[in-house]
């Protein structure tokens, strides 16, 4: 047997003495906190909490989306829908002279419209 083994064999056979073992035991018993649930149950609780948070977040997003009635002006869909809402203004045919057009328009008495009204209602 070499020196290291001889020393360690002797050391291994000697146990240190734990003084005041009863006092240490009492101290441990006096400081016991509540026990923890096993890890799988803790994981389940974490998953439940995450699911609840996600549900609340979705609900908040949904409510915010339904209440938001002012879409951005830059939105092309919004512009198109605005144009659709505005009354259509008839376009003049540029190939027909204006006088001819007026004549056609005021042919009957009931259809008499002043020039200013025409300018107002038609895009010239």
């Amino acid at each position: 047997m070499n020196k290291i083994d001889a020393i360690t064999r002797r050391l291994a056979s000697q146990e240190p003495e734990l003084k005041d073992a009863d006092a240490l035991c009492d101290s441990i018993m006096d400081h016991l906190p509540p026990q923890q649930e096993p890890q799988r149950y803790r994981l389940l609780h974490v998953l439940q909490a995450v699911a609840s948070m996600a549900a609340i977040l979705l609900l908040v997003l949904f409510v915010r989306q339904t209440r938001d009635i002012t879409p951005p002006r830059e939105d092309p869909d919004y512009r198109q829908s605005l144009e659709r809402l505005q009354p259509e203004r008839p376009q003049l045919d540029p190939t027909i002279p204006l006088q001819e057009t007026l004549r056609q328009l005021v042919r009957t008495k009931s259809e008499q419209i002043t020039l200013s009204q025409l300018k107002k209602n038609y895009t010239l």
Binding site: I4, D5, A6, L11, L18, I28, M29, Q35, E37
Partner: protein, 183 residues
């Protein structure tokens, strides 16, 4: 060491404190010896006993009774000791402790029981040049008498790492003994 029955274990898992007292009484000496040998400090070893057994109580519901209770407690204690070893500054033995160590190793025949401070002096001087990992593997193998598989189980280290750490630890101690005129 008393053997803890399945009934005591089940009662502990259901939060029975009086049953846990039986566990504390059965294992506090084992944890103290391990921590004493690893940390070479009596008061720190007592702290480890307290921390380990409180951790055992807190996590008792997670304990799988198919595993050995002794190994489970050992694993918790070793991890706590290893954390302390890593954290603390190098603790060199005092000159008188070195002297005691020289006297101890020169006398192979005597098996007289040592006082705690004498035992500390010898262990501290023996492992003074080892890293925390080497110290842990050396102590578990040579002083706690564990097999390589048991060391692997309680430390989480693989067999090759245990072997290399043990090899370096033994080499370091052999060189130290050579300097003292032994080996």
């Amino acid at each position: 060491m008393a053997i803890i029955s399945n009934e005591i274990i089940q009662r502990c898992q259901h939060g029975d404190r009086s049953a846990f007292r039986v566990v504390v009484q059965a294992y506090q000496q084992m944890v103290f010896t391990l921590a004493f040998r690893l940390l070479c400090d009596e008061e720190e070893a007592k702290d480890i006993v307290q921390e380990t057994l409180i951790k055992v109580w807190v996590n008792f519901k997670s304990y799988d009774p198919r595993q050995s209770l002794r190994t489970w407690i050992y694993t918790i204690a070793i991890r706590l000791c290893y954390d302390r070893l890593k954290q603390r500054m190098y603790l060199a033995p005092l000159p008188e402790e070195e002297d005691y160590f020289v006297g101890y190793i020169s006398d192979d025949e005597t098996d007289k029981p040592l006082e705690n401070h004498e035992l500390l002096a010898v262990i501290k001087s023996l492992v003074k040049n080892l890293s925390p990992k080497q110290r842990m593997v050396f102590t578990l193998t040579h002083l706690e008498g564990m097999s390589s598989e048991e060391v692997s189980q309680v430390t989480g280290m693989d067999a090759s790492k245990i072997k290399s750490n043990l090899y370096v630890a033994r080499k370091t101690i052999r060189e130290q003994l050579k300097l003292l005129g032994y080996e």
